[in-house]
């Protein structure tokens, strides 16, 4: 197969970026999207050009490192598939693919397709855990957890933190990511003691990071490679409201995730800037 890749090239955060078109011959239908970029990069290096920077590590869909837009869709056209597991057989010979990074002001661009997702770490740091020091744990079977509960928690906990949900959302909201962690922990009995504070703090951090608000569009779930259900956002909202009421006298100040939303949090690009 032969493909044309129109790739966003940007040297660093400050310089202006642009699309550059490359042709890749000899694309094997069995290779992954990232292996296709590897092949391109090998030729670029041999030609004395800088290879395309892109993020990747496990290449088996679990670490959450990889991700970019292919023709406007985060992780490309296949459902429940990260770009590292997306094989080229899903494209047609001669097709042109437009490849660009996640665009969100909470994910500043570092280089080419690589963005800074530390805002996700800060959301987790603000409360995405059960506060238990090592050594304090009771016997693992002392608190029974029904199978349905454990399964539900696992569904939410499957999030890989890739950021596709943010990239898919017209508001660049992180509601699916944040909701997934809140849901995972608030479903489990172990997560109850901190449930209210957790929701308040994580939502506050999410808003402080400049993610947009959620307006229930659902693009996030559609793009999510782990099929995290929209329901987790409802759980987040419920816990947030519950927490706001119960903790109304405490000092955690937040804005509601449902009402406060901004449209300005997608990074602007000029789609015609190509060379």
């Amino acid at each position: 197969m032969k493909l044309t890749l129109k790739i966003w090239r940007q040297k660093n955060t400050n310089e202006k970026g642009r699309f550059v078109s490359y042709t890749v011959d000899n694309v094997n239908p069995d290779m992954s999207m990232l292996e296709c970029l590897d092949v391109l990069n090998e030729t670029l290096i041999e030609r004395g050009e800088e290879p395309v920077a892109f993020e990747h590590d496990c290449r088996e869909g679990i670490c959450g490192s990889c991700g970019f837009m292919i023709n406007g869709i985060p992780h490309g056209p296949m459902p429940a598939t990260t770009v590292c597991q997306l094989t080229m057989r899903h494209f047609k010979d001669g097709q042109e693919l437009t490849i660009e990074p996640w665009r969100a002001s909470a994910f500043p661009l570092i280089k080419d397709l690589v963005v800074d997702r530390r805002s996700f770490d800060r959301i987790i740091a603000s409360g995405g855990y059960i506060s238990i020091n090592t050594g304090n744990a009771p016997d693992a079977n002392s608190i029974p957890v029904g199978k349905d509960i454990a399964d539900k928690a696992m569904d939410a906990a499957a999030c890989i933190g890739c950021g596709a949900c943010v990239a898919a959302c017209p508001n660049a909201s992180a509601a699916l990511f944040t909701g997934a962690k809140i849901a995972h922990l608030s479903i489990l009995p172990q997560g109850q003691p901190e449930r209210d504070r957790r929701a308040l703090q994580m939502v506050a951090q999410m808003n402080a990071e400049n993610f947009g608000g959620c307006t229930n569009i659902g693009e996030c779930t559609a793009a999510c490679p782990k099929e995290i259900p929209l329901e987790v956002i409802a759980t987040m909202n419920r816990d947030f409201i519950r927490g706001s009421w119960k903790e109304r006298d405490s000092t955690v100040r937040t804005i509601t995730p449902m009402t406060e939303w901004s449209t300005g949090s997608k990074l602007d690009i000029d789609p015609h800037a190509t060379s």
């Binding site: 679990i62 490192s65 855990y129 050594g135 693992a140």
Partner: protein, 635 residues
């Protein structure tokens, strides 16, 4: 140098308790005055950093990924062992200890393994309390499965994503400490050298992968938890970024490297499909519980599997090992796949593959049951190969998966450099010559949550540490050396890419130091590696500069270290004139082709000392004693 493993005296059951009591404690008020550097944020690194942070130490934690949550522990599928005996099926601490020593083919230190088995039960408690969603029974208790041929059900799991869930638990505990201000996290930061002052590990030199800045970090101790070195083979199941650089550079500063030739090859991976292949994908070993492995009896039989009649198929594992059948240990399954492919009976386009067939299981249990058990694995297989394993047998081939060797550590997890501790896959300690399934996660968390918090305290409380600053002349020297090696790599401007060298190195390692090895082949490999390394330093092309994100430069430094490590692995493999666990020397096998250990001459840990560029490394031996589990040939 005499290697003292510092194994406690007295009965093994009390060794860890006794050691804990005898160890010195750091006064709570003094803890925050100690800065400790943790390199790596996988299960071992994240659990260590989080726990030490909880105790009040001042922690700096480094990882090369953009977030600590991406460390390669995340990819472990199968599960984690623990001697909980929840199933009441005869498990105990002693049995897990026994199985691990025996599974490691009698090349591990007994006392370490016993402690690991003891601690395994605490790990499960800790993880459940953190909210790790392990699989449950309807009644609400934890469920277990038997894994990798174990006689008892002691493996805890969270779907096929156990590593992910355990790592996220440790990561969340780590982020909690970041929030509390006890841990400072340095993502996208790679350790490039170790600073040793007055014989003690006192700091590291790092490169900020975004800005290219080289920094000195000084501390009272350094903890390496930087994972294994499987990527020396280029193709492995490891993440692309996994590398040996932190360990290797520490080795060059004086830490001995133990048993580098012990590598584990996993029998159930998706076969290579072409030259562009960048990594291999593992499928859980549990598939062998229901799948039957076969190849055509005829050489070069290219018929599709459905057209090969039953009596023209060779179910070679069932034929050769009637009592274990398809559940033979990992190394046996892998080696036999290689043999049948070497005979020209391999399947698939490349001929490097064997069938794993579920047709009988589907007939017996129904497709629904198989879907329940392996649905996500089948989906993954289909996503990658475009073949439907419910209809066509899977094709599998072995791949490098785990490395048992690593930096030598004593019972306290301290390397031969005082103040340098090594945890998880990066050390050599607990798995001997072969690791059992579902034991890697256990060891990483045991080291990080439950061992290092004690042994580090003991070191800090009993060692006089001079005040050292970033401007110490030795720290500056190391910084200069790091900058120089980066400058050198960028200045070669040769003709070949880093990946092309890495691929070639990997092929040499796989051909001569892979599933089976010979003295002659290893000699050839050493010559080839040396020649290729020479060419590397003349002819590698590393584009770009050192002042920004430069992924080629990152790779170039790692591959340079893989060259040196690869040579040491071959030297170690050539030196070990026996077959044990993951190390199979063709010259040493029983008449029916099984690994032949030589306990009389090789019951030791081989720890290698770096002697400068171009010099032969020096071998130090730590003899192994087996007081509890008496060596027997694996049957």
């Amino acid at each position: 140098m005499t290697l003292d493993g510092k194994v406690p005296s007295g009965p093994i059951e009390q060794a860890w308790d006794k050691t804990r009591f005898e160890m010195k404690l750091v006064n709570p008020a003094n803890k925050r005055r100690h800065t400790v550097l943790v390199v790596g944020s996988g299960l071992a690194g994240a659990s260590a950093a989080a726990t030490l942070g909880e105790l009040g130490y001042n922690i700096k934690c480094f990882c090369f990924q953009d977030s600590p949550r991406r460390a390669h522990s995340i990819a472990a599928q199968g599960g984690i062992n623990a001697a909980k005996n929840y199933q009441n099926d005869g498990d105990s601490v002693y049995r897990l200890f026994y199985d691990t020593v025996k599974g490691g083919d009698f090349r591990a230190r007994e006392a370490n393994v016993y402690r690991l088995a003891q601690i395994s039960v605490n790990i499960i408690d800790q993880c459940v309390a953190q909210g790790v969603p392990f699989a449950r029974e309807y009644g609400g208790t934890l469920t277990n499965r038997s894994f990798g041929g174990a006689q008892v059900s002691r493996t805890f799991y969270a779907r096929g994503q156990t590593g992910q869930q355990l790592l996220l638990g440790a990561y969340q505990a780590l982020e909690r400490q970041v929030n509390a201000g006890t841990v400072r996290m340095f993502p996208r930061t790679e350790m490039l050298d170790l600073i040793v002052i007055d014989g003690k590990a006192r700091g590291i030199v790092t490169r900020n992968l975004v800005t290219g800045t080289i920094d000195i970090h000084i501390g009272d101790a350094v903890i390496l938890a930087s994972g294994g070195y499987g990527n020396v083979y280029y193709l492995s199941t490891n993440a692309k970024g996994s590398n040996v650089t932190a360990s290797w550079r520490a080795h060059k500063r004086g830490a001995l490297f133990a048993n580098p030739c012990y590598t584990q090859i996993h029998p159930t991976c998706i076969p290579v499909s072409g030259d562009y292949q960048s990594k291999l994908t593992l499928m859980s070993e549990s598939l062998r519980n229901d799948g039957r492995i076969w190849v055509p009896k005829q050489k070069g039989d290219k018929r599709p599997p459905s057209q090969i009649p039953e009596d023209e198929r060779d179910y070679y594992l069932e034929r050769k090992y009637p009592s274990f059948g398809n559940l033979v240990p990992r190394d046996v399954a892998s080696r036999n796949a290689k043999y049948v492919c070497d005979e020209g009976r391999g399947v698939g386009e490349t001929g490097l593959g064997v069938y794993l067939d579920f047709a009988d299981a589907i007939k017996r249990l129904g497709e629904q049951k198989i879907r329940e058990r392996y649905g996500n694995l089948f989906d993954m297989y289909q996503r990658i190969t475009d073949e439907d394993p419910y209809k066509v047998p899977m094709r599998i081939y072995p791949a490098i998966h785990y490395t048992m060797g690593g930096l030598w550590v004593d019972y306290y997890l301290q390397s031969t450099i005082p103040g340098l501790f090594v945890l998880g896959e990066a050390n050599f300690s607990d798995h001997g010559a072969n690791r059992l399934g579902a034991s890697a996660l256990m060891q990483g968390l045991s080291d990080g949550y439950f061992i290092i918090p004690y042994t580090l305290g003991n070191y800090l409380a009993s060692t006089k540490l001079e005040k050292v600053s970033e401007s110490h002349p030795e720290a500056r020297n190391v910084e200069v050396a790091v900058k120089e090696s980066i400058r050198k790599l960028l200045s070669i401007k040769g003709k070949r890419t880093v990946d092309s060298f890495h691929r070639e190195l990997g092929k040499i390692m796989w051909d001569y130091c892979g599933m089976s090895r010979t003295a002659k082949g290893l000699e050839t490999a050493i010559q080839k590696i040396r020649a290729l390394r020479e060419e590397y330093w003349q002819n590698v092309n590393v584009p770009g500069s050192g002042d920004d994100l430069n992924q080629s430069l990152e790779k170039a430094g790692r591959v340079a270290d893989f060259f040196e490590l690869g040579e040491l692995m071959c030297i170690d493999a050539r030196d070990r004139n026996e077959s044990c666990g993951g190390h199979f020397r063709e010259e040493y096998q029983t008449p029916d082709g099984e690994a032949q250990r030589d306990d009389e001459h090789y019951s030791y840990v081989a720890a290698w000392e770096y002697r400068g560029p171009g010099n032969q490394p020096e071998l130090h031996k730590e003899p192994l004693e087996f007081k509890y589990v008496h060596p027997s040939q694996r049957s």
